[in-house]
Amino acid sequence: MSAAAPGTSKAAHSDVAPKKKKGPGALATAYLVIYNVVMTAGWLVIAVGLVRAYLARGSYHGLYYSIEKPLNVCPLCHIPGIVPSSVVLTGFQVMSRVFLTWAVTHSVREVQSEDSVLLFVTAWTVTEIIRYSFYTFSLLNHLPYLIKWARYTFFIVLYPMGVTGELLTIYAALPYVQKTGLYSVTLPNKYNFSFDYYTFLILIMISYIPLFPQLYFHMIRQRKKVLGHVEDYSKVE
């Protein structure tokens, strides 16, 4: 039974506005700022790499190869990151990024020259540069409205763009996965276990149907909340 405050007083508990909680200490802030700057820089490297390669070649075909290494590393660096967003949503996004880069694009050579790869890489790059700049500036308590606006507006186009690129890439990988039996285990074997990567990829594609609208509308709601107000919030979501 609760031995808390006697029930006679009206709710004496202070109404703590969730956004005014005590911020991280100085050391933690320094670490987070450095982390976010590094992440911004990482994605900038990819962006610059893409632009330079495009200018050099004159076409956007095969640009994947010029940024293959940083592209595979950047999403992995999201994993130890601490960002002021919902753990579930962020965790989900990180997993899907790592999956797309390692388990699909890197693993299936044949899709690396697909245009769909470029589509999602571009969407991710722009999104992440803005997002990590947003976190960096927020931590320094000096957030230009432009960055905030960009973070909560660009996604309207970038998100569907990225998802389209991801789905097309997975779809392109399917025939090769089926032909080679990549990452698949068949019966009989002594562990009495089987796994069909081809079916797994199809299930992943289907899962976009319930998941994407949820994430998308969550961002739209966030947009209304954040951009609809005059005050500046230092931490959102």
Binding site: S2, T8, P188, Y191
Partner: protein, 307 residues
């Protein structure tokens, strides 16, 4: 005599005002009044009324006089959502695996290639596994009906969907491989199967002994909580070292089943179950420690000395 007002825990709106409540009444009086006067949709099992908006619920048997309140008492209400009885949930979630496994065992059509429909496996371990699995769930169903005494009658409705997905899903996944025409029996053959069976049966008896011991701690219809101690039954002597030996034995049973079938999905199921039971055991252990100052210090939550 008291005045009682009940506010919504989130919005702090005044939901109910009760005049002249006698101090020797039980909290259940408030729950029923609330149900009748405020909103018939909020049946008592669904209500959580507490002294503090974020505190623990008042129990039905709490006497109002013993609560730390003045002459006008303020309580806070939270709607727990639609509730369903434990018994219903248990019966549903355990009947599923029983039936589903048998469907795979008898190789009902549309599971395996048509030429295998209604055939039986040539490996005797597959028949043994079916008997063990079925026995396990029949035991659970009987325990639900005749042994367990629940302190809390209900749980949120959405739990039935969550739990059934877990039990039924895993049962189907395991059964598919064990009863598959291309099933590979254990590497070490007879020895492995015999050892696994002994472990399985030992732990089933152990698990049952613990359930009986726990039931005997609590007289019928009551919700008392006591420290469980070893009884004359040797299977309960594990209480010396462990707070929740029912989970320990359950882990042992499934380890036995894993070794018996040598099937990776069974190992996964055992692992996931172990993680969940460890969480529960640690919680139970913690509440034992909080409630009883003389709680035996040698005990661990689920694995002797380890966890």
């Amino acid at each position: 005599m008291w005045h009682v007002e009940i506010l919504d825990a989130k919005t702090k709106d005044k939901l109910c005002f009760l005049d002249k409540v006698r101090t020797f009444f039980f909290s259940s009086f408030i729950y029923n009044k609330f149900y009748v006067d405020v909103n018939p949709q909020w049946y008592p099992a669904r209500q959580s009324i507490r002294l503090d908006p974020k505190g623990k619920s008042l129990k039905d048997e709490d006497v109002l006089q013993h609560l730390p309140v003045g002459t006008t008492a303020t309580f806070y209400f939270r709607d727990l959502g639609a509730q369903i009885s434990w018994v219903t949930v248990f019966l549903t979630e355990y009947t599923g695996p029983l039936v589903i496994y048998l469907m795979f065992y008898f190789r009902v059509p549309f599971i395996y290639a048509p030429k295998y429909d209604f055939t039986t496996s040539k490996h005797w371990v597959v028949h043994l596994a079916c008997m063990c699995h079925s026995f396990h769930y029949v035991k659970r169903l009987l325990e639900t009906l005749f042994v367990h005494r629940f302190s809390h009658g209900t749980m949120p409705l959405r739990n039935i969907f969550k739990n059934c997905t877990y039990y039924w899903g895993f049962a189907a996944w395991m059964a598919y491989y064990i009863n598959h025409p291309l099933y590979t029996p254990p590497i070490y053959g007879e020895q492995q199967i015999r050892l696994a069976l002994i472990i399985f049966l030992f732990c089933q008896i152990g698990n049952f002994s613990i359930h009986i011991a726990l039931r005997n701690l609590r007289p019928p219809g009551s919700k008392t909580r006591k420290i469980p101690y070893p009884t004359k039954n040797p299977f309960t002597w594990i209480f010396l070292l462990v707070s929740c030996p029912n989970y320990t034995y359950e882990l042992g049973s499934w380890l036995g089943f894993t070794v018996m079938t040598q099937c990776l999905p069974v190992a996964f199921f055992t692992l996931v179950g172990f993680i969940q039971m460890t969480v529960w055991a640690k919680g139970k252990h913690r509440s034992y420690l909080k409630e009883f100052r003389d709680y035996p210090p040698l005990r661990s939550p689920i694995l002797p000395f380890i966890l």
